[in-house]
Symmetry: D3
Amino acid sequence: MTDTRAERADAYLETLHPSLRDALDRGMAPIAPDFAQLMVDFGYGEILSRPGLDPGRRQLVTIGALTALGHPVDQLKGHINAALNVGVTPLQITEAIMQVALYAGFPAATNGLRVAKRVFVDRGVSPLPPTASETGAT
Amino acid sequence: MTDTRAERADAYLETLHPSLRDALDRGMAPIAPDFAQLMVDFGYGEILSRPGLDPGRRQLVTIGALTALGHPVDQLKGHINAALNVGVTPLQITEAIMQVALYAGFPAATNGLRVAKRVFVDRGVSPLPPTASETGAT
Amino acid sequence: MTDTRAERADAYLETLHPSLRDALDRGMAPIAPDFAQLMVDFGYGEILSRPGLDPGRRQLVTIGALTALGHPVDQLKGHINAALNVGVTPLQITEAIMQVALYAGFPAATNGLRVAKRVFVDRGVSPLPPTASETGAT
Amino acid sequence: MTDTRAERADAYLETLHPSLRDALDRGMAPIAPDFAQLMVDFGYGEILSRPGLDPGRRQLVTIGALTALGHPVDQLKGHINAALNVGVTPLQITEAIMQVALYAGFPAATNGLRVAKRVFVDRGVSPLPPTASETGAT
Amino acid sequence: MTDTRAERADAYLETLHPSLRDALDRGMAPIAPDFAQLMVDFGYGEILSRPGLDPGRRQLVTIGALTALGHPVDQLKGHINAALNVGVTPLQITEAIMQVALYAGFPAATNGLRVAKRVFVDRGVSPLPPTASETGAT
Amino acid sequence: MTDTRAERADAYLETLHPSLRDALDRGMAPIAPDFAQLMVDFGYGEILSRPGLDPGRRQLVTIGALTALGHPVDQLKGHINAALNVGVTPLQITEAIMQVALYAGFPAATNGLRVAKRVFVDRGVSPLPPTASETGAT
């Protein structure tokens, strides 16, 4: 049955973070080799892959939680990437992070937007409408 | 223009928390009469009513942030009610709160589910499929 | 020399929280009798009584920190009382707490204002200008 | 294999919190019936029952984490009870909580000690050496 | 009326952080161009510029809140600079940060003092009394 | 008597963090020369050196608290080193940090394990059983 859990985790991860399991396995191998597997199998195979909430909305909940906590910067970066991977738009992401200013303060939201900016630049996406020069309009 | 902000706030609040402005005004009148107005006008009139993210997704982001922070219990209660008011289902709400266990720990999620339970009992709604006796099936 | 520390603590506490040492001693006596003394002697005798920052400004720093943390409700209540005892005005206190909304979110500030309201009601003070009926104007 | 996980969880819980699974099941049944099982099976069956750290030390780590977070009061109460159940002494518990003052501040430690006091009173135990009258000495 | 808010914000910022609006506008332009303006106009034009608490005391409240939260390092740096700009002394700033150790723990205070040290070195100011060689005494 | 406190602190620090007092004194000398001494003397001379909880268990409590808070990365690094210095094993440390995932979420635990990995690499220790090649087995 743990196979099934791992399979559900891998299926859920396939679109979201295709390389997460490998990256975690490599990073944690010298210190806590089971931890990456437990985290991925439980997190993705038993919690996030449950029916009842679609992957895009789940990523927005996660972005809300991580932005509010403030310190998990790498995880926020990973989940912004994952949100884009499941079709959340850049604008939905920036709106979600801005909104956290109301609940956890402006520093948390500002720092979250800086993380989003780095992700968007890396991927060449933007929450802003294209400008005339980008659209080729003259 | 501040009228417009207040009007946008009131329009956004109309479905979400119809009595929030009055309740805040009453509660804060003896101590910080401007605070309720500033919070509502800025929060609802300048942040939450922005286009780019619909009210249901915004409530899920807020539930993620408040559950992760842990201490704002009354605000979580208010926003679970508001989420139901804009069509988020009880099941989406419980799934969102459960998921926060991954990011902020089980105590935060457990306490969030307890708040949701009180809201659902008060409103007579449930995230669970109806049982045979509730559906009148025999 | 520890006597001197305790004496400095008691001198600092005399105006601020005249009954704090006794209340803490009583509360902690059955479980951690040294804790109240260590906390009071170190906190008031070695940190807060240092020159360089006056008691009123120190209470505002403390109100900022406790409001931002969110969970220490009893301590915030005690330090709002202490702030009033050293001449911080009710209006300075409500302004300080409101401002924390920017840094730690509206729920933290709202809950801090509710604590202040209870303290102000207990003491019969208010951050608001007196109304005509209260001043006896006709 | 999930049976084995549940069995490991139950075996680990047997001394620690004998009624936890039932209490959680009852509390969460109307809202998130799977959550209690997932939390208990994963937490106790996959994390806490791992070899490498004994139950007493694990409870001290948990008491450190929950006291520092500040808001999970019920969970801290449950884990102080569990610590006593696996042989951690009342004095080790109060020393652990006091020490968290250094890392998370005095309010967190003070509130943690208040929770411990309620647990100790309920169970008739104390971190203090017995007094002459309690030992029957004359 | 929003002009007036922006004007109040700019007037308040003039001494405090003269380049904040430009820096935020540039940083956020590619991702959330409205966010910097909303944050500055609301924060400085509607909250911090309110009468009832002077700018120096407001900066001490902010330093208390940001030091306690721990994660907003850049914001703490900005507000230590702003505090110096409105006449708060280096010694008042270090005393305020040290004091937060009591409420949020030594790590938060130590990290806050490290931020202050970088600001003070950059500006060539110090909380310490000048030494004989610095005063030219012989 | 304060001499005695400093002596107790130094005695407690001797094995734990032999260079902590000097490093703190140097780091804080230009900004808050008393702070390092107050923190070390109070922390080690009045809290951690109390009887009732041994140094290894105290380090596990500290690791629990710092991992849960998330932001004090340098302090967590220092206390993982100190834990190794007083005989806590690498495996006990990784188990303690992993366990905090349950109470404060996976990001806090993952980031804590990354800190531990850096400490273990620097010291050439590992929580894992030696492999055949490391033991010279053939």
